[in-house]
Symmetry: C2
Subunit: 441 residues, 2 copies
């Protein structure tokens, strides 16, 4: 018998495989290196990156990978016996990322991902797979970068019936709209400048057409309403049609224009939409400028909760991924969509035509007599009540094009749709009208 | 042998005792009643309120208490064999609330509280007691009402070294300051109106002198920095001295005035202060009006995270308490201050004199020759560099009192302190100068 007390059993490390060494993957490694003491103290155990994978093995990335095996086969990486958790930083809704996720969860390993497209399209199936194999699945980084809004909704607001989720979910679009607002420049000019600076992609459609925001909105809606994720139900329109003149006009009326995702659930019917909206300057989302993201969740007891921060970037994304890692290390990661997969409700889709609200409608019209009479007659015939109408004057120096903007009184959305149908094909309109809903204060 | 499969074992309910049936206690019961299906689905088990306690047993509260025993002895309530978790809604830093908390944790039961004063003063000891008895301790509702900022800091931002926490933590003070801003009215007038409306207490000192905000700041600092809570180290000054003229002057300079709690940690030294500050209009806290609370946490990877919402009220407080309840029901409640009590660092207190920043300084002076020369000489002699200086004109119609406001260049705080020491006792000053730090953008 020894006369010294036996050493306490060492806490086993959490062993990680990291797939993908792009911006996100390298950010995760850098965070673990920089904040190791904090992360391990909060995780309650050591963190070991046992294996990594990337397309180019030898590339210089400014990080020390000596302690990790380099594995080129992603499926082999996911199934290694010495791995507890796989971090997927490969990207893409399907293909290698999805195969990796399925292999990892199927082998009972935890999966952490920032891949909003994959979760938006395959989240329910992955949650079922995770549950079947007793494996945690976590994707805080998939929504709004470093902002802990998945946790905030799923756990922080867990006691509430969520009535509505409203968010600025795409940094590129918000950068473009708030820059247009600050400089008075038009969309194409600001987009080109953003592309030159690297704030927007060469092909920017994912961001500016609202698809990226729609991915995130579908994830938040599933969590907030305890619903089966239904990305196909998100109606999406982007910011290409927003002109400097619209922003100027909105400002005069006391609004800013933002690309906003709104999900609300009434009588068991879910409406999910991403659209440019007029936001009253008294609304918290009106003050969100630049590439920042923000989400407002309205709970029946909490009231309005606002979560705001950097929506992208290596640091914020790594912060969210490692927060998930700490939850998994502590054994406290819950159901990914807030309820067991079997309890997630298949939500009916709401008919947007029944929704009641105010709209900003901008017409591009030929500069000739009788145009206003034609438009206002169509509004009257469709039952749309006009609160204010402003004729902008010529849109361009040389053309005969004039902008006419109006704000409607509160009314059913189908009346506005009907009015635009009545005007369809009219020779007075030189382009399709732009309808921007007005967010409630 | 039966040919039907045996029923799965029923999940045991979480059995609750609720002490205190004031606004908070009744709010909790109302939430559980209204949202029972949601709460039990997320908790993964039934919730039973087995016992309640209040000073007056028979009082009509508009809620059905038939299913709960009424227990008058709080200690007996805390020790009941059929109780898993005690919710403390009694209030007060010591006395009955503390005795109840100690009895509950000592008996190995979970404790949930909204009591910021008790946690600020006794949080470390209660965390040690909880740990010793394997009992969860949770106090989301103690900071910023319904905003899940305790969880946001402790878990959402867990991967970060937190550099600074900045918050609007007292709704009453923020209501008064933002109403002064909107109406131009002076402090006393707005306070009286707030008292008449029930937004401020008859004795408002807890709120307007910054003590309530200091309680919350100390809790956030302990969590964010993994430190032993040190409420005594919070330096606190309130909003009584802020005049309408200061708010008007700040506005001209591009700032609003808010009561702000700031905790920062550099080289292992912690500085915690609650003071009225000049907030640049570009800072997220500048847009927080009315009784709203907001917290900005700056992590070394996440960047600035903003959490905002209702800071008080029955609904938001109940939302936070029941979120804690769901965590406890799921067995996922972590260390209350983010680390085991033994790992919380005893932080040294920073010397505020070494801090570098800009200040707004307002003097109330006699209207006579040479006053400006005297003030500016003192500034020069103390090494304070003046960025701008504005003489306001007479403060009142009848008196000879004049306001002089200045903004300093960035410099060490001790220089400003030294300048004011040089001016102490000067016959030119008709009141003590007011120094408001300028928050960094």
């Amino acid at each position: 018998m020894s006369d010294t007390a036996p050493a306490p059993p060492a806490t086993p490390p959490l062993r990680i495989a990291l797939a993908g060494l792009g911006t996100v993957g390298v950010g995760v490694l850098r965070l673990i290196e920089t904040n190791r003491a904090i992360v391990e103290a909060r995780a309650g155990r050591p963190i070991e990156v046992v294996a990594v994978s990337a397309r180019e093995a030898g590339r210089q990335r400014g990080i020390d990978l000596a302690a990790s095996d380099f594995v080129s086969d992603l499926t082999a990486l996911a199934r290694r016996g010495d791995v507890d958790v796989v971090i997927e930083a490969v990207g893409g809704a399907e293909g290698a990322a999805l195969a990796l996720a399925e292999a990892a969860l199927g082998a009972g390993k935890g999966l952490i991902t920032a891949n909003k497209a994959m979760i938006a399209h395959h989240g329910l199936r992955l949650a079922q797979l995770a549950e079947a194999h007793g494996a945690p699945l976590a994707f805080e980084a998939a929504v709004a970068g470093g902002i802990p809004v998945v946790k905030g909704l799923r756990e922080g607001a867990a006691a509430n019936a969520i009535e509505r989720i409203t968010g600025i979910l795409n940094g590129t679009s918000n950068y473009i709209l708030s820059t247009m607002e600050a400089t008075g420049a038009d969309f194409a000019e600001v987009l080109a400048e953003a592309q030159a600076k690297g704030y927007a992609e060469a092909d920017p459609s994912f961001d500016i057409d609202g698809i990226d925001a729609a991915h995130k909105l579908a994830i938040l809606a599933a969590i907030g309403f305890g619903a089966r994720i239904d990305f196909a139900a998100v109606s999406t329109s982007g910011i290409r049609e927003v002109r400097a003149a619209d922003i100027a006009q909105a400002r005069v009326l006391g609004f800013v224009i933002r690309l906003v995702g709104v999900a609300d659930c009434r009588e068991g019917k879910l409406l999910q939409r991403v659209r440019p909206c007029l936001v009253p300057t008294s609304h918290p989302l009106a003050h969100v400028t630049g590439a920042t993201n923000a989400v407002v969740a309205e709970g029946n007891f909490s009231g309005r909760l606002l979560f705001q921060g950097a929506g992208a970037g290596a640091g914020p994304t790594a912060s969210a991924i490692v927060a998930d890692l700490i939850d998994i290390a502590r054994g406290t990661a819950g159901a990914p969509f807030s309820l067991p997969a079997g309890a997630l409700a298949p939500m009916a889709r709401a008919d947007p035509g029944h929704r009641v609200g105010r709209d900003y409608i901008r017409f591009t019209v030929a500069d000739r007599t009788g145009v206003l009479a034609e438009i206002t007659a169509a509004m009257r015939d469709a039952g749309v009540s006009i609160e204010s109408l402003i004729q902008h004057g010529r849109a361009s120096e040389d053309g005969g094009e004039v902008l006419v903007a109006m704000v409607t009184h509160e009314g059913p959305e189908r009346c506005v749709t009907r009015a635009l149908e009545l005007l369809e094909g009219s020779a007075s309109l030189t382009a399709a009208p732009l309808v921007l809903p007005i967010l409630r204060d």
